[in-house]
């Protein structure tokens, strides 16, 4: 699948295109197929996202989109060396999802 990501313009936070809005959580990412460029251009022009780009992803055993490259998996989660600052701070082993 192809999913679309970028950063929130004001906050800089990593966001994922859900099909109708932007979410902080990669679990919400939608398959954009061949529509990535059009969505990215429209959303960037509306200042709802900054520096959007499309990436390849798969679905893990639980059905969650999993970015193909480690860099985007770290973006999706947060710094592996600070579990408390990730999106899943209660799970100290959450960094394993990145590897």
């Amino acid at each position: 699948m192809r999913i679309l990501t970028g950063n929130d313009l004001k906050a800089g936070a990593v966001v994922w295109w859900t099909g109708y809005d932007w979410s902080r959580h990669v679990e919400d990412a939608a398959d954009v197929g061949d529509q990535a460029d059009a969505i990215a251009a429209r959303e960037e022009a509306a200042r709802r996202v900054n520096a959007p780009y499309a990436i390849e992803a798969t679905r893990d055993a639980g059905g969650t989109p999993r970015p193909a490259h480690i860099k985007d998996r770290i973006r999706a989660l947060g710094p592996t060396v600070r579990p408390d600052l990730t999106l899943k701070p209660a799970d100290p082993a959450v960094g394993n999802w990145v590897i």
Binding site: A51, R75, V81
Partner: protein
Amino acid sequence: MYIYDEFDQAMVDARVAEFRDQVDRRLAGKLSEDQFKPLRLMNGLYLQLHAYMLRVAVPYGTLNSAQMRLLGDIADKYDRGYGHFTTRQNIQYNWIRLEDAPDILADLARVGMHAIQTSGNCIRNTTSDHFAGAAADEVVDPRPYAELIRQWSSFHPEFSYLPRKFKMAVIASQRDRAAMRLHDIGIRLVRNSAGELGGEFYVGGGMGRTPMIAPLIRDFVPIDQFITYAEACLRVYNRHGRRDNKYKARIKILVHELGAEEYARQVEEEFAHLLTLGIEPPARELERIAAQFAPPPFASGLPDTIDRSDPAFALWAARNLQPHKAPGYTALTISLKPTGGIPGDASADQIRLMADLAERYSFDELRVTHAQNIVLPHVRKADLPALWRELVDAGLGSPNLDLAGDIIACPGLDYCSLANARSIPVAQQIGERLAGKEQDIGELKLKISGCINACGHHHAGHIGILGVDKKGVENYQLLLGGSEAEDVSLGKITGPGFDEAGVVDAVEKVTDLYLARREDGERFLDTYRRIGVEPFKEVLYG
């Protein structure tokens, strides 16, 4: 230390107002990201993996307590409660909101700080010896000259769009504590046989994808001509440096391709011309600056001994203290490298505590080191036990300066959009693995970069590690034999890379070999230089 005059303050305040307007226009859609990006970069604001990142300049690594305290407050107010001290003696915040950036710059301006020229193809923050003004071996305090460079290079119209970024360092002792020869221009202040002050100019060094040691271009530039000579060095680079290929755009490539002799000849030609124009700042300006770096009022008659009866204190004191020019005083280094911690990170509370300690014990001064630690430069030896206890209570008492745990590591793939691999977890694991024998191993400079840009100085590590992307998987190359000190050298790759666990094992193997083969008084680097790389390859790959 230097305090802004009305011109400095007006310049920085004007830049804050200008950037506030630029941010407003970006948020209102009047500027596109393509238009805005170079503007935010000129103010140290990057877009990194998780958020905007703000890099704040700490000129030549010197801070007073009010500035340090504000850095802690910014971490709490605008970030997530911590900051990251960098190998350019700066500090970075990783979780900045764009809409907050102008307010942060305004807060910084109130204590005489800014983020100007911490990015972009301009002259970056000038670095220096973190023991400047305290070191027993310096011929002069190099900071007034670094400050003069800061003022000369700030918004220099001719050098705001260089072919590539440009980094300068100024030191004033034979010992090099600032990686001076790995800079675009490295200056060592010296006295000639007549006792006159001047500078050795080394030009064309650097790390990155093409590491080079800067050759000596001129062995003595009189101090009253050194800005003119620096201008000549920059002019030749600006004229002939490549702008068609960013990977060949640094001055080191120009000096290498022209040859040091021909580059020096062109600089001399330009220098002769510039001397006729009288561009050197007036001597009274340098005197005005230098007066602000006058030594603090050291007390006389202090005891010059240290009570080492507490073994834990004695261990720390044996590692983390530096000889001071004033009897009864020492310069101490606060390690930001606790075992298993993140190199260079400090919490807001720790930053504020260090500010308080500087106020109480070190004439209100602190330094950021390029090795990502903090120095209190002027501490009475008699105050050390009490000060040390406060450091220990705050998790800042690691007795590991220049040991295996004192690792330089870039933010790597945990934070940086340029990185190919994570640096910090490797540093943490090596630190934990070697913690039990680091005192036995002795001086060991371990440096880790998460990509070829070498922010973690891996080329200059006695042991260097470079993270690469091998078909989407993190892989780590091992380098041995580098040094960024006065015995400068570039490390060499040992062979095929390792995975994350493998590179930790590899570091342990080479340190074990060192322990087995060292002779009396030899550091790891000395043993490596004596026996060569082959025995190390044998234990790694044999």
